[in-house]
């Protein structure tokens, strides 16, 4: 399960500033009558890299989807980059263009070429001129190491390549925060590494990241906090060393023993 990342990590860049990127206070969410997120309190500093883990159905995806308003919360407050998420559509659009999201199933637009996937939002949301948008797109495609695929369509790429394009597509909006929902769960083992490498590189550049993943190797090396969720609640959070070496709650111990044993 845990992927070994043979790579020196440059921690000098990975400074955490005092500025607050995301603040969630007393947040509750229901799906109908099902209380899926219960009293969530979470503060994310700019530059922090947080890994969220927990058993299936514990509400990890729902939590990070609330942060860019893909899901609506019913109680409490979510403040992203100083803007409170409310039902005001203007705020929602503003936050979404500042927060990048990478999905488990990539969700690339299959009818558009890789380059068009990357330039679409900059052109239509940010009003970037086409030429400039293409330059930005090529810059990020180079960064995820697939500039030569720019003219292909998503259906012609491997899973790992598609996920890297998805990351590049988000980066083209030059977001200040990146959310990842199990970015490697749909990939074959040999492709997981290429995606994780890209994510590590992002972390090294100081991107604020919230990552739902079960890649504990990634968590140990990159995260400065690991959050464990169960039944819609944050059960435990700690630095990776402490979290893995000395888990406090029984649920965490049980969960860790399950995922580390297979």
């Amino acid at each position: 399960m845990s992927q070994v990342i043979e790579r020196e990590i440059d921690r000098s860049q990975m400074q955490v500033s005092d500025e607050i990127a995301i603040q969630i206070t007393n947040m509750n969410k229901w799906f109908g009558s099902f209380h899926v997120l219960r009293d969530i309190n979470l503060t994310v500093q700019r530059g922090e890299r947080i890994v969220v883990c927990g058993p299936s159905g514990s509400g990890k995806s729902t939590l990070i989807r609330c942060i860019n308003a893909l899901e609506e919360h019913q109680e409490g407050q979510i403040i992203v980059d100083g803007t409170e998420l409310s039902s005001d559509l203007k705020n929602v659009d503003k936050i979404r263009s500042e927060v990048g999201m990478v999905f488990q199933h990539f969700n690339l637009f299959p009818h558009l070429s890789i380059l068009d996937n990357c330039t679409l939002a900059p052109i239509w949301v940010r009003k970037t001129p086409k030429k400039e948008a293409e330059e930005i797109a090529m810059h990020f495609l180079e960064k995820v190491k697939i500039p030569e695929q720019a003219d292909k369509f998503p259906g012609q790429l491997s899973g790992g390549q598609q996920q890297r394009v998805a990351i590049a597509r988000s980066l083209c909006m030059q977001p200040r925060i990146m959310l990842f929902d199990e970015p490697t769960s749909a990939l074959d083992p040999e492709m997981i590494k290429e995606v994780l490498d890209t994510m590590i590189q992002l972390a090294e550049e100081g991107m604020t990241m919230l990552v739902v993943t079960h890649e504990m190797g990634f968590a140990r090396q990159v995260a400065n906090r690991v959050i464990f969720m169960d039944q819609g609640q944050i059960v435990e959070q700690n630095e990776p060393e402490e979290f893995f070496g000395n888990p406090k709650s029984d649920r965490t111990k049980l969960f860790l023993s399950q995922i580390l044993n297979n």
Partner: protein
């Protein structure tokens, strides 16, 4: 122990494939005689096609092109091919083809219909094929008004004041959406032009006409007929039913309860009644609801009904395409900050429509063929004309030639649409 090591010392040259693996013989072997069952089917099919041609071809070619009545036809065929010979009497097509194409449109104005048809072809070219310069799209946008004016004639101020309705709608959107939000803007952009068209467009046009007279000879709807009528109704229906259908399909998915209810109600009502009843409503009942003295052109009424009918089906087809899209596409669009309309236009609709191409074109074909139903309310489309031709003394009793010709014309149009759809599907294929 034998030695299993092996090294090739001489490379083999490339050789031509044996004739049994390529060429005509190969194709026949694989496709027609690949097994005993396939072989029997092939032989039966050949027999069937041959006997069909044996029956039909003599009739098609032992024909008369010159007679002026059915009896004359029969006599000339017997005279030429001997006693008992029967053949097609194509003379009826020769004599009446102009009528079958143009109805009773004044013959000195045929050029207007021809010009309108050429305009139509030019206008749809950039919509159909990506290779045409995009600037031609401006022509496409202007062409409906030009075409209608060419066909009906009359004052040029009428089409211009209809265009003005669109401009007013745009202005209303800009003015209202700034202070009151885009929903109010959309409603204004819908209401203002409709009110303009219903109440003001005609008086304004006739007012302008009396100040600056600019008109061509007008042709009344009663003289419209033949394929020109079918194409006019069919193309209008096709061009309008897709956008209306898209709006209805989106409305059906709307979160706004009232919008959703209206759309569902409309779609289900239209799908629940036969087109022919709608046409009867158009031809008779509508007049009862209209203020006395207003004349509301019968062809216009029929076009509205055909469009509404087809757009309800189109809405369901598009909804099917929308339903086939994974939720992830909406979420990805949302997470990039695209608003609803941009997401629809750039991400959702291109994919949903692509999925629905076969069904959409199927609807178009159905619509075009359904235009023949207007003969039942007395319009002189090719079917309506054929009835009157057959009622004529000279041609009383002629069936196959007339309907065969009409069928051929419809077949050409519908077959082209089907082929185009296949071309489009191939072109848009972006997966593996």
């Amino acid at each position: 122990m034998t030695d299993i090591g092996y090294v090739r010392t001489e490379m083999l040259p490339e050789q031509d494939a044996p004739s049994s693996a390529v060429g005509v013989v190969h194709w026949i072997r694989v496709n027609l005689f690949s097994g005993w069952f396939n072989s029997i089917l092939t032989i039966l099919a050949i027999y069937f096609v041959a006997s069909l041609l044996y029956g039909v071809l003599p009739w098609v070619f032992k024909s008369s092109w010159t007679a002026h009545s059915l009896n004359e036809c029969r006599e000339s065929i017997v005279a030429q091919y001997g006693e008992g010979a029967t053949g097609a009497c194509w003379a009826v097509i020769r004599e009446r083809y102009l009528q079958l194409l143009y109805g009773f449109y004044p013959s000195e104005l045929y050029w207007r219909v021809n010009l309108a048809f050429v305009g139509l072809l030019v206008a749809i070219a950039p919509v159909l094929f990506a290779g045409i310069p995009r600037k031609v799209l401006w022509f496409s946008a202007a062409s409906p008004f030009a075409i209608f004016w060419l066909l009906w004639g009359g004052t040029i101020w009428l089409p211009l004041s209809v265009v003005a309705g669109f401009v007013l709608g745009y202005v209303a959107y800009v003015l209202v959406s700034k202070p009151a939000g885009s929903l109010a803007g959309t409603i204004a952009a819908f209401l203002v032009p409709v009110l303009w068209w219903l109440l003001l467009a005609a008086p304004v046009a006739s007012g302008l006409q009396s100040i600056i007279p600019l008109a061509s000879e007008s042709v009344e709807s009663a003289r419209f007929g033949g394929f020109m009528l079918s194409v006019t109704i069919g193309v209008t229906g096709i061009a309008l039913s897709l956008p209306i259908g898209i709006v209805l399909a989106l409305g059906r998915q709307s979160d706004l309860w009232i919008v959703k209810t209206i759309c569902v109600g409309f779609i289900e009502f239209i799908r629940g009644v036969p087109l022919i009843t709608l046409l009867f409503v158009a031809s008779t009942l509508l007049n009862i609801f209209l203020p006395p003295g207003t004349t509301f052109d019968i062809i216009l009424r029929v076009m509205i009904m055909v469009t509404l009918f087809s757009s309800a089906y189109m809405a369901e087809v598009v909804r099917g395409g929308l339903a086939a899209l994974p939720r992830g596409q909406y979420e990805a669009a949302d997470s990039l900050g695209l608003d609803y309309w941009k997401a629809q236009r750039l991400i959702i609709m291109p994919q949903a429509l692509k999925i629905s191409i076969p069904a959409i074109v199927g609807n178009f074909i159905g619509l075009f063929k359904d235009t023949t139903l207007v003969s039942i309310i007395g319009l002189l489309d090719p079917i309506g004309l054929s009835t009157s031709i057959r009622a004529n003394q000279e041609w009383n009793g002629i069936i196959w030639e007339l309907y065969g010709f009409i069928a051929l014309m419809f077949f050409i149009v519908c077959f082209s649409m089907g082929r185009y759809a296949m071309y489009l599907e191939r072109k848009l294929k972006t997966g593996h």
